[in-house]
Point group: C2
């Protein structure tokens, strides 16, 4: 009995594209057992070769692994308009033009899948869109950038930021230009996508405030170690009242937090909801073969069919000034009255201190405080008021703290 | 515009059934947004009321939350034969009669979903069956029984087995008769189901050897603490050559293992494969609302349609004598020559020792050894040879050790 072929048009043939083409060849028989059709790469389009019109003509599925917005956007829209389902690994495209793409898929009545765009092989998209589709999600926390998680793990072992980044580059976990990773922009794009899926909210990358890891110091990691905390670059998407907040920033996690033990170049996402409490998924971040495996999973998903397709998202109030606990790090002259002055100024700004550690270092003292939850704007005002103290050796540093909720 | 109803027949109305009925009512609107149909419980069948023939007549989906094999099996087979998709949370049924049920679903061309049967709301079934459907899975490790994981976590905090079990019962994490949980039988049923999905292998509960946690001692937990190891009840399903091994037993995990940090009444599953490295999913184990949420996820999956249905599994060689590293705990008379005698006997049986810790306790000494990987049968023979030593205070205890593979 011969099995009918299922023709795939592949756009892009870089690391992931090549790994995907190889995986399709290796696993074609198994996919045929599952779906009844044998997948094959019918045509490839790269900058230098291939014919997009012929791909639309001859292929049942378009797999977009070009990356970047242009020309990927035009190709994906054209494929959807022609009634071809699309699998993409393109986080920039999805996070900047999600509305347009989802509407196009909806109009055409075809699937648009993009598991590999967020957490590589960690199936967070499928779980949010399908397993948890009926669930009222309250919050998503994610470590969605493997490069920064690797750098922070190395800093935890005692390396400086520069040394850790160099190590990440040496091992292939960071690119020559790591800007998008270390500034948090890459994670922000992924959180925009997750927020859309978790809340049906039309969130774009340019609406997600992000803060990176470049300014973190070994001191901060030392504090984390001493108090059993982990310091991670955390993406958050949460409901607060009728609005939502989506943001990326470094955060201290208490030891029992499901993301606290995620080390090295890994990704992990925790989904919280009253009904499910929490579900956490983790695995290696990007890597050619891992990403290609996620694309293969989506390919099988499309081949199996089903009515699933992204819903166009609804507008939603995005909150920018949310409450957190903060860690405040100050290096001050070691003399009487300093702690009193600092706590006075913070108290005047209604910033309430939960714990203080002061430690002498010769001429100076290190003052580390953790606040009770306070709006970010209010904390910033308090820090500004404190910035004028002549006894400060450096401007104060602040890092958010994710507190244990269920104790 | 009125939305068409989607009628569900609910079999069983215990804790999970009641929670599911409530969840369907709460989330009907959201499910309608996703699927275009509004789910409602059209009829309920319990031991004392309801009419199964009417359910088959009037419902598009049958949800089986009775539990146990009879009469659940007859109902599920009848529903499938009548062309009704089935969602079930019944691990006993699936692990004992999987072949028959999967064949019936295949014959009828309808979905049979059972996410809640394995790890509650942790979507391991969907991820194995769909996201990783194209992947060649090498191994699945799972903490698939929340009761025993809670008991072990409490023992880690210093409680005895009896105290920890009483605490689990007090908190509602263990039933009055905890036999199925503490003997490992519940976990074995779940591993039979996972092995079937991961390897397409026809594995039944009665083919899965299991060992529970009843014989574990505080000493063992103390050893774990001292060496930074975790002691968990681990289910394993793995390919070894052309065969597979499926088993449940306590195991020490090295600190970086993805399951090592899973504490309390949680479930977690790690799937390993060359292509994906590893993916881990975790979340709360059973609980009425959590289980009902998993059943809701499956309900949405059925409503969305798609060609997915379980494949009938193929027979497969089940290996019973696999290699592991072992921890061996002996209490011996504290006098010269004892260690030499023990290592001599182990060496004669080709059991190679990796590390030894001997510690005096007055008259006696505690001898803890970890072996290099050795076939279980060989280790048993070696331990039997050692059992005759007159200097032994108790029979030796052994626990498997899961070693770090990638260092």
């Amino acid at each position: 009995m011969s099995t009918e072929n299922y023709n795939i048009g592949l756009l892009g043939h870089g690391t992931v594209g090549a790994a995907y083409a190889e995986l399709i060849e290796q696993r074609a028989g198994n996919v045929a057992d599952l779906t009844g059709r044998r997948p094959r790469i019918e045509a490839v389009l790269t900058r230098s070769r291939g014919d997009f019109a012929a791909i639309l003509e001859n292929c049942e599925l378009v797999v977009e692994l070009i990356g970047g917005v242009d020309p990927a956007r035009e190709y994906v829209l054209a494929a959807l308009a022609a009634g071809r389902p699309v699998v993409s690994a393109n986080k920039l495209l999805l996070s900047q033009h999600g509305d347009e793409l989802f509407a196009a898929a909806q109009r055409a009545g075809v699937q648009l899948r993009f598991e590999a765009a967020v957490a590589g092989v960690v199936p967070v998209i499928r779980v949010l869109e399908e397993s948890l589709a009926g669930t009222h999600v309250d919050r998503v926390h994610g470590i969605v950038n493997g490069t920064t998680n690797f750098v922070l793990s190395e800093m935890e072992r005692g390396l400086s930021y520069r040394e850790a980044l160099a190590e990440a580059q040496r091992k292939g976990f960071a690119e020559a230009d790591p800007t998008d990773d270390v500034t948090g922009r890459d994670a922000a794009a992924k959180m925009a996508i997750l927020a859309r899926l978790a809340f049906g909210a039309a969130v774009r990358l340019d609406q997600v405030p992000y803060e990176g890891i470049e300014h973190l110091q070994s001191d901060d990691l030392e504090y984390a170690r001493e108090f059993g905390l982990s310091l991670k670059l955390i993406g958050t998407a949460e409901r607060i009242g009728d609005g939502i907040s989506v943001r990326v920033h470094p955060a201290f996690l208490y030891p029992g937090h499901p993301l606290a033990s995620v080390s090295g170049p890994f990704n992990a996402v925790t989904v919280e909801s009253d009904a499910i409490t929490e579900v956490t998924m983790s695995g290696p971040g990007a890597g050619g073969l891992q990403t290609a495996s996620a694309v293969l999973g989506d390919t099988v998903g499309v081949m199996l069919g089903g009515a699933w397709r992204p819903r166009p998202a609804t507008p939603c109030e995005l909150l920018s000034d949310v409450k957190s606990s903060f860690y405040i790090h100050m290096e001050v002259a070691d003399r009487p009255g300093v702690l009193a002055s600092v706590t006075q100024v913070l108290g005047d700004s209604d910033v309430s201190i939960k714990s203080v550690v002061q430690r002498g270092m010769g001429e100076s003292a290190r003052l580390v405080m953790v606040t009770h939850p306070v709006a970010e704007s209010q904390l910033r005002r308090a820090i500004e008021s404190a910035a004028d103290f002549e006894f400060l050796r450096h401007p104060p540093r602040t890092i958010r703290v994710i507190e244990e909720e269920f104790v």
